[in-house]
């Protein structure tokens, strides 16, 4: 009974925590970008103000799939969050593992594609095709990296990966998984959709891509989904390579460091074209991840 109650509390608590962290990251991103540009920047709670405004605005629906697709993508993100340990908070730790996360991570872009496709705007179709091509680009090295981690620790459970690292040290500084960790960090901007890989949401080229027809509460839900996506991409890296954490505060600090490093890349690089992005993603990160997988296979015992 005791464990049941804590589990229910955790299932409610962990998406809320993830949302708070993600929205904080969105605000922090705008502030840090402003300071890098030598500007003062918006207040830290600017995304919250935007979201309140958007929820009060009237939106126009483009059909049932337009409404349901965005809810599907949001639900997919929330379910992934339930499988990711946040410090010791991990409501669905006993089931699933890395394979489930890998499958469920596809739900969010799929829902966005369904929803945006209903709006029949040419910019949306270009954005979605770019997004799917980009995910084709980063899924290959991501799968190799996850295979290397699973081979190294002989488990598919993300909680056991974290626990093993608590005793043996961070896996990114261990020589068996060093190459895989570097490879994951190289594809992290593509997973988060920040520069130089923001091809799908390029505001100057295709009018912010899949979000072009979103306004009002649809845009607010899309922003929340973006916050969850930020959380998932970084939390997966922290769990797999930076040893997770025993309490949420240390976990949050680790996420913050990774996110700010990503922001620096975001601030100084221009945008790739889509074929340049694919060429990059299938060259260096894939090569590193492949060598890393071989190293992990050889040193398994």
């Amino acid at each position: 009974m005791e464990t049941m109650v804590t589990k229910v509390v955790q299932i409610i608590l962990s998406p809320i925590l993830a949302l708070v962290v993600g929205v904080f990251f969105l605000g922090l991103a705008r502030k840090i970008m402003a300071r890098i540009h030598w500007r003062y920047g918006p207040p830290l709670i600017q995304p919250v103000i935007d979201m309140i405004r958007l929820f009060y605005q009237k939106g126009v629906s483009h059909g049932a799939v337009f409404d349901l697709g965005i809810i599907l993508s949001l639900a997919g993100s929330i379910v992934v969050v339930l499988f990711l340990p946040f410090g010791r908070i991990c409501p669905l730790s006993s089931s699933g593992g890395l394979l489930v996360i890998l499958y469920l991570m596809l739900l969010a872009p799929l829902g966005m594609a369904l929803s945006g496709g209903q709006a029949a705007n040419p910019n949306v179709s270009i954005g979605i095709s770019r997004k799917l091509i980009l995910s084709l680009g980063y899924e290959v090295p991501l799968l190799l990296v996850l295979l290397a981690v699973m081979t190294r620790y002989k488990t598919i459970s993300i909680v056991e990966v974290v626990n093993a690292q608590q005793s043996t040290g961070w896996s990114i500084v261990s020589w068996q998984l060093f190459l895989s960790g570097i490879s994951y960090f190289l594809i992290l901007p593509a997973i988060l959709g920040i520069r130089p890989f923001d091809v799908s949401s390029a505001p100057q080229e295709i009018s912010s891509g899949p979000a072009v027809e979103y306004g009002g509460k649809y845009l607010a839900l899309a922003t929340i989904e973006h916050a969850f996506a930020l959380f998932i991409g970084i939390a997966l890296f922290v769990n797999l390579f930076l040893a997770g954490a025993t309490n949420p505060v240390i976990f949050f600090v680790k996420m913050l460091v990774v996110f700010v490093l990503g922001l620096f890349i975001h601030a100084v690089y221009p945008r790739f074209r889509i074929e340049q992005a694919i060429k990059y993603l299938w060259k260096w990160p894939t090569l590193l991840a492949f060598v890393g997988l071989i190293v992990a296979l050889i040193t398994r015992n």
Binding site: W38, R39, G41, I49, I52, R53, Q204, S208, E213
Partner: protein, 191 residues
Amino acid sequence: MDRNQITKWLKEPAKMANKYSLHAIYFCTGCGIIEVPPVITARWDAERFGVIPVATPRQANLFLITGYVSVKTLRPIIRTYEQMYEPKYTVGFGSCPINGGMYWDSYNTIKHLDKYIPIDGWIAGCMPRPEAIFIAVTHLWTLIDKGMANGHVRYRENYEFYRRNQEMALGKLDWPPLYQIDSKSEEAKRE
């Protein structure tokens, strides 16, 4: 944020959020494209006022029309304005949208933009300095506070007037009316 704003936030969250989150879409038809980039980038930093440029009218609630409006660009201006979600605010930037400015006797510019779409505020000058956009934004805050920035309400109430003017300038419009026009009352007015 100072303390007496918190009660305002609790009382009227929609109004306060509308004030501090103005997502702008810039329609730089003629001149004015030189003045806007310094405002949104490092020199004058509009983002500290909550003003950021967005790429589509669906996400925007501030419509900034800079420079003269030719008859040809009036059509996309109307389409853009009608695609924005309510509440939405419009600001005319420069002398030409107000009364034609130096194009007062030109054959192919629109002299009074507020005959075609409702305008909540004007920035006079040829050209105004970029700081004028911030003065406009702070004025717009006051107007939103007092409930006087009601262009979208005026557009809905006087839609016949605006639609008739649009048709006079552009000929037959190839999009359906945004709001229902009561045909009987229109005929009565014409007689």
